[in-house]
């Protein structure tokens, strides 16, 4: 799998790395147990600061998408896909809660909010 970064993008470089590795796991390109390049290799290949790649790997490790096995290297976690899924569900629930709270504060009723969401989902489906 190839990793592409855009340093002019508004998205931080370490976030681009995290996102693309997670996408690779979800799409099945990065199977559980696949060895990942070392921080030094990835940083040198992409001409990035080592700390940027280290930060991305740290986030992926915290999210249990990758696991580091000392000198053996860094690998895709055995349950990486389910961890990403549960993480995404958790993030979605949090963001939804924030949004609903904001909409209530703006004076919308429960029925109106439900209608807005249904419309948004219908647009997305088409």
């Amino acid at each position: 799998m190839d990793l592409e970064i855009d340093v002019s993008s508004l998205e931080a470089v370490y976030e681009q790395i995290v996102r693309q590795i997670q996408q690779g796991v979800q799409q099945g390109t990065l199977a559980p147990g696949t060895a990942l390049p070392s921080i030094r290799q990835l940083a040198d290949d992409l001409d990035l600061n080592h700390n940027t790649v280290a930060r991305a790997y740290k986030i992926l490790e915290t999210n249990r998408v990758i696991r580091t096995a000392g000198r053996k290297g860094t690998f895709i976690h055995g349950d990486a896909s389910s961890h990403i899924h549960s993480r995404n569900s958790h993030d979605a629930a949090y963001q939804m809660n924030e949004l609903v709270t904001a909409l209530f504060e703006k004076g919308l009723s429960k029925v109106q909010i439900e209608a807005v969401f249904k419309t948004a989902l219908a647009i997305k489906r088409t």
Binding site: D2, L3, E4, S8, A35, P37, D45, L46, G73
Partner: protein, 271 residues
């Protein structure tokens, strides 16, 4: 009869290494440097004109090759020295290595550093550790042998079996060989993907790593051979036979790489 064979190999190494392989390798290195940001280079023809193909370095190779030819003719036909035979097969290769490393250093500052980094960058997520190419034990065994050979010479010096000058010569020689072998192996593993990798495919780097490990094993072999020679007066073969074989091997590998269809195609694309 055998003398003529040595003359032929000694002369052909100048042609193959100085006049064919080195200029081709200079052009490939130059091409790899431009690959840092190909879009920017294509959009700036003035840069390409100012930092054109390395003509001077290639001419230095041609001229040095002529110099060596003159030196070989003198050694073979006018000096009457037997030791010149061995030197003729080993000495011309060393300056070539210096020229190559020097060229890479110059081009790094002359061209590579002046090209800005691309905004969009990509790389493969394929790991390139030693264990991905071969069992690391093969390399560790090499270093164990180096330590054994060094230990033999140290004990020989302490016991007075070998002279100090011989000890220094052997240790310096082995250290340089091990340093070059190790550096080459690490470079083969860590260097970025280059156009030659695209041309030759994924086997190119594997071939390169195997080659550098083979160089380390040749160093081990030489170390053991020298130990037998210096401590037990056992001569498996002469220095001349060793350097003759090495010269033939280096020339054969260089010619194989040069004549490979992918290399020829890549070189044809470089202006």
């Amino acid at each position: 009869m055998y003398s003529w064979l040595i003359y032929a190999v000694a002369f052909s190494q100048i042609v193959v290494l100085y006049w064919l392989a080195a200029p081709a390798s200079f052009r490939l290195v130059y091409h790899a440097m431009l690959n840092k940001n190909r879009e920017w280079v294509d959009a700036n023809p003035a840069f390409r004109q100012r930092y054109a193909t390395p003509k001077y370095s290639i001419w230095i190779c041609y001229v040095t090759g002529f110099g060596w030819l003159g030196a070989l003719i003198y050694v073979f036909f006018f000096s009457g020295s037997d030791s010149g035979m061995t030197a003729s097969l080993s000495v011309p290769i060393l300056p070539l290595m210096l020229i190559q490393f020097g060229y890479m250093g110059i081009e790094y500052y002359r061209v590579y550093k002046k090209i800005p980094l691309p905004v969009k960058r990509s790389t493969s997520l394929e790991r390139r550790a030693l264990k991905d190419f071969l069992n690391p034990s093969w390399v560790y065994i090499c270093y164990v042998f180096f330590c054994l050979v060094a230990g033999m010479y140290i004990s020989g010096l302490v016991r007075g079996v070998i002279e100090k000058n011989l000890f220094i010569a052997r240790m310096v020689g082995m250290s340089i060989a091990v340093a070059i072998g190790t550096f080459s192996m690490l470079y083969a593993l860590r260097r970025k993907k280059q156009p030659v990798d695209d041309a030759l495919g994924p086997l190119a780097r594997k071939f390169e790593v195997f080659g550098t490990v083979a160089v380390l094993y040749i160093c081990v072999f030489v170390g053991l051979f020298r130990t037998l020679q210096d401590f037990f007066s056992v001569y498996l073969f002469t220095d001349l036979a060793f350097f003759f074989s090495m010269s033939v091997l280096i020339q054969a590998v260089s010619l194989f790489c040069l004549m490979h269809a992918s290399t020829r195609k890549l070189l044809a694309e470089i202006p």
